[in-house]
């Protein structure tokens, strides 16, 4: 289990100094084994800073990262897989050699690194590119190599900063499948993304950060539960004033009346609607992650 508790970080001389900026203002969350954790927030909200602190690339001013109940140390981090926001690969190195090299740096034997690199190249669809220099690859393929570098040593935890940005839908699926496999194997996966439908589809839990604070965290279902669900009713040609006395709003579009309401006796609403006219639609609508996100950061 990876626990991030109360991380604080400010840049350039601290919050009181001129030009200083608070990047993290007490970020806490927990990622359990086999859990995929989506990290969302506007640009500059603190996602990258948090991930860099988890990876030891940046020092927090205060707060702690714990792994398996102990403070996270250098030797633990060597077993993490990391994909930085700005991609880092040797442009002139061949794909297979690059993956092998990082595998060896993370402590694999020459043989194990070769085997793992070969497997990943096959799994991520890079077989034909294995002997090309990285600079000759398309952005999507470079991203696959970057992911292979993060996965090569069979990491205990995966920390991925925007792994899906700039990818076509097929590449997104390849990457998502690879991550889900690791996750099923018990590896906690944290990734940040602006593609909220993707986060909603893949993640068990979501954390929403805004201005260096965690404004909402929990399972997608929990976050939905916190938001009130909306009852939406569409009635054609109803008698006027049919919805008087009900909370919510009625929008009139042509001869259709659309009622959006919450916290009411839905059966009562249905009865009134059927009496008033022809009911075309009646249903409870769950907010999408995008709506939850907008609500949370507003």
């Amino acid at each position: 289990m990876l626990e991030i508790s109360d991380l604080r970080k400010s840049f350039a001389g601290g919050p009181d100094a001129p030009g200083g900026k608070v990047a993290l203002d007490g970020i806490s969350f927990t990622v359990r084994p086999g859990e995929m954790y989506g990290f969302v927030g506007a640009n500059g909200a603190g996602k990258t800073t948090t991930m860099r602190i988890v990876m030891g690339v940046l020092q927090a001013d205060s707060g702690e990262v714990r792994w398996q109940g102990r403070p996270l140390g250098y030797d633990d981090r060597r077993r993490f897989g990391y994909m930085p926001e700005e991609r880092g690969l040797y442009q002139k190195m061949k794909v297979i050699e690059q993956i092998e090299y990082f595998g060896r740096l993370q402590g694999l034997s020459a043989q194990a690194a070769k085997k793992s690199a070969t497997d990943l190249i096959e799994r991520l669809g890079l077989v034909e590119r294995r002997n090309d220099a990285v600079q000759a690859l398309s952005l999507g393929n470079q991203q696959r190599v970057q992911l292979a570098v993060a996965l090569v040593h069979d990491p205990a935890v995966l920390v991925l900063d925007e792994p899906f940005s700039g990818l076509d839908p097929i590449a997104v699926d390849t990457l998502a499948t690879a991550l889900q496999e690791r996750c099923r194997g018990g590896v906690p996966v944290i990734f940040s993304s602006h593609q909220l439908e993707l986060v909603e589809r893949l993640c068990d839990s979501v954390g929403i950060v805004s201005g260096g604070r965690m404004v909402a965290t929990g399972t997608v279902a929990d976050l939905r539960g916190a938001e009130s669900n909306t009852l939406r009713v569409v009635v054609r040609d109803p008698a006027h004033g049919w919805a008087d006395g009900l909370p919510g709003t009625v929008t009139v579009r042509g001869d259709r009346h659309i009622l959006q309401t919450a916290d009411v006796d839905d059966q009562e609403v249905l009865r009134r609607a059927m009496k008033a006219g022809h009911v075309e639609y009646f249903g409870v609508e769950q907010p999408t992650l995008t709506e939850i996100f907008k609500e949370a950061v507003a």
Binding site: M55, R78, R104
Partner: protein
Amino acid sequence: MNGLMLIARREIVTQVRTKGFVIGLLVTGLLVAAVSFLPTIMGGDSYTLGTVNSQQLPLQQAAPDTEFEWRTFPDEEAAKQAVLDGDVDAVLVDDARVLTDGEIDSELGVLMQSVNREVRLGAAGVNIPPLQVQSVGADAQYEGARTGIAVVLVLVLFMLLMGQVTMVAMGVVEEKGSRIVEILLSAVRPWQLLGGKIAGLGVVGLINMVTILAVGLLATSASGLSADFPPGIAGLVAGVLVWFVLGYVFFATLSAALASLVSRQEEVNTVLTPLTMTVMLTYFVSFYITTDPTGTLATVMSFVPPFSSMVMPVRMAATEVPLWQVGVSMAAMLLAVAAVLAIGAKVYARAVLRTGARLKLTDVLRAK
């Protein structure tokens, strides 16, 4: 294999595989070989002479190192034609006149005149014993060769040092600018990354250095030039390698520390300027010293790090240096290297993850 070794190996493999390295090695090898043969080719210490109705002069006795080839011409007309065609350098006619094409080669002229005088005087019964030359300097006979070796050495040391030190800086910025360093530093410690890079590129420099020395030694012995070399050349070669390593580690560490302050390749030259100036200054001082290896400047500078890393080997090549001086100078340089390693590693570790605008060295040193 630990991180440092893996990183060093990647640097070596990456460099050695490039076309630039292979071509560079071939070109320097050929250049060194050419320089080794140059005195033999350029020497021109061989003359073709002719006679018309004359005795051959015993020039060989007077100049044993020079080759003379004699031809006999039936008459003056044939001899003139041969001179004009450039087949012969000079023709002796009737034991009295010398035909040449324009001015006579001054060395040949003096030689022919004095040998002719000697022959005539000898025929008249006068015998002059030749002057005995005696050197009072310990190794005066090797001075020319020593200066030559020193000059070549300065050039080679400077070129290799500058090349490898720039490579280190470019490598550091490549990793910092592309954020590869973030992944690397989640797997290895900063000192392993820095040490591996310096060691790897140092080995590449040594491969160059050893090639140049080996080609130089082989070619000079093939060309016969090595006969003029002072004794103890093997010791000198070993010394040069040690000094090269010391100088390289000093400058490469500084170079890595300075380069870690910037994030873009375009900024490397600017940030390296103070270092480049120091290397250049070292080079100029060393070059000047080849002309005056026993002067005060040479002696003083051969003790001051980092100048000593280039000045001392040049002094050692150009003249005899007492062993204690070499020892003291090397100890001082080792201390300087240790200090630079300590400070450089600290700067590097603090700066290499701070991407963005150029950092100030003082800020980095002051940060907690």
